[in-house]
Amino acid sequence: MDTLFFLPSWPPHVGSLTMAALVLLAALVAGEIVQRVFKLPRLIGWVIAGAFYGPSATGLLDAEALHDLQFIMHVAAGLVLFEFGQRIDLGWLRRNPWLAGTSVLEATLAFVAVFLILLLLRVSPPVAAFAAAIAMATSPATVMTLARDLRASGQVTQRVELLTALDCAYAFITIGVLLAWFHAEYHGDWVVMAAHPLYLIFGSSMLAILAATIARPLLMRLDAYGDVQRVCAFALVLVAVALGEWLNLSSALVLLGFGASLRALDDRRRFVSLDFGPLGQIFLVLLFALSAAALDLSIALAGAITGIALVAARYAGKYVGVVLTSRVSGLSTRKGSLVALGLMPMSAVALVFVHETVTVFPELARGLLSVLVPALVVLEMAGPLLARFAFVRAGESAALA
């Protein structure tokens, strides 16, 4: 044998990066097929390809490999949230305070509706509360990907984007509060309960503003060199993700805030077209595919009824909240109902952040997954379709006009 040392070994050793590349290829091909043949949004193909690779399907990508690739998901989620934050104009809330009312009402109603329906289905209260908190959020990755692919622009798109950002912030804060409460239940420490969410909110905002303050002059000087500026922003996002994790802050809030602050500081509108280009696309595809791969599909089947109930309750809460306040916030009720549809996307990306924080309590994590995964499977498919329907029906898609 040794004499043939130059021949390749068998079976081949496939490193995790090679696996990521294979997933990427499969996802890209699936995305194109889904878009060209079935006229569905590409990201549905990315998700299907990812799920196909996952442990609960072919298992080409096992739990260990997924664990190794976690960092890619973190970076990718950071990039998405940063870019998404940049699209958000918080000044709008000042010019139209009713929108803040819409977001609070819609998120609260979604929380309450999901919480109650889960209690009714005999889910334990802590699990129901965490699931309801996560259900408040809409997937920024999905909304942004659709809006960009459709080149959508207009009231429905803008409102969905703003509400999505706010909902994410509410969800992350609520999860922080719930965690603190959970800690207190176990350890009876009420100081921790009060301090933790405050640390999360203030720490994350401070880090976000700091990052934006440092990034602004740097990016300004690289203005004329598109690619250098892009790579520099990419590196800054990586550093912010790492800092957020080290400081035990919510990386999601940090990156969302980083993007939004950079935009707020951009008084000469020099970064309006700052995106990560093909680099961002690579991470985006991997984010959808890998997070879908991690879904345990056997749970999905078992909890189908809970999942559908959760989705319905979430939609009802958001629909009532948005539609009740749409006229006072200056939009027709018809378009308000389209906004509610646009808020439907929820993706397994939500689990990327939540999973780690919650795994401290294995029982809670298991319960949470059994409730959320079925809902996520439904919404990974239905969410993009509903949101796309909303943008197109509102006449805001340039790509399909």
């Binding site: 309006v272 200056g330 939009l331 805001e396």
Partner: protein, 378 residues
Amino acid sequence: MSALESGDPLRFSESRALTLGVELELQLFNTRDCDLTPVASDLIDLIERQPHAGDVKPEITQSMLEISTGIHDRHDALLAELQSVRNTVVAAADRLNVLVSGGGAHPFQHWSERRIFDKPRFHQVSALYGYLAKQFTVFGQHIHVGCANGDDALYLLHAMSRYVPHFIALAASSPYLQGVDTAFDSSRYNAILAFPLSGRAPFVLRWDEFRTYFERLRALGVVESIKDLYWDIRPKPEFGTIEIRVCDTPLRVETAAALAIYAQALARRILAERPPVTEDVYLPYGYNRFHACRFGLDGELIDPMTRTRRPIAEDIGATLDTLGADPLAPESEPAFAVLRRMIGGAGNDAYWMRSTYQIGRSLPDLVFRQAERWRGRG
């Protein structure tokens, strides 16, 4: 200007001479990247919830809004109405997070991305003109001047054509198009010239002759209605006016009102003095018009009657001096003062845009500042 009374669309409605009406086509863009955004119907929906001055209408694309005034004869009332409707639009736009501005064209919008407003006529236009319809996402000011009868309207139309370069140069506000400096002060005008029925009206001076001309065009199937004629100045029999259509939408309502008053004062003098008009007025027409679009107030103007040439700004100054004898001159003086400042060094809006671009060196930033200027700031 009375509305259409009989069923005959070519009957020239009588209207009180020298009354004015102004229409402005405005750009609507999002605050994210300052690109045009299809929000006209939402904006109109919101504005129409409450009574307001002026009139607000959709235009060919969803990212365009048309505002228009009622009928006026005095500068102060015209300006007050324009300011009032501007404030209404801006307040509603703020609630929808939309920016509004004047300007003849969007500086970096790419024509392939525009959405055509959902109305049958606009879809017809779009189907007929293809890419031109979308390139036609340009924004103009239209000035209606009331005429006692059709013959007066045609005479005034041809006599006014000598002053067309004045209006182009003073209103020019489209130096940037599709992301580049076009070197023109008004690039919008070139987009309009691509249409088959653009240019000038045929040289006929009597309304019945015009009717015959129009009927022949219609019999050939070239046009269906007066709306199909994109002339620099066209008669609008339905209103009893002539409509001057060469102006880019200025960046401020003050300029828009001043231009309208200038048109009125010129018309008043022309109708009072009745200088003879021959087709010779059109000999240097294309040349003058090109100069006004390309060089703005610094362009050159050839007078077909006196056969002299001088800078447009100088020609405007000399014209304004002769309007001083106008009986309404004191009332119109604030409007003339606006124009004098422009020719006296402040420049037109194209000049303002080029200098403002230097501040942020980004076109989205320029668009944002245009919106600030439209609000009455900056």
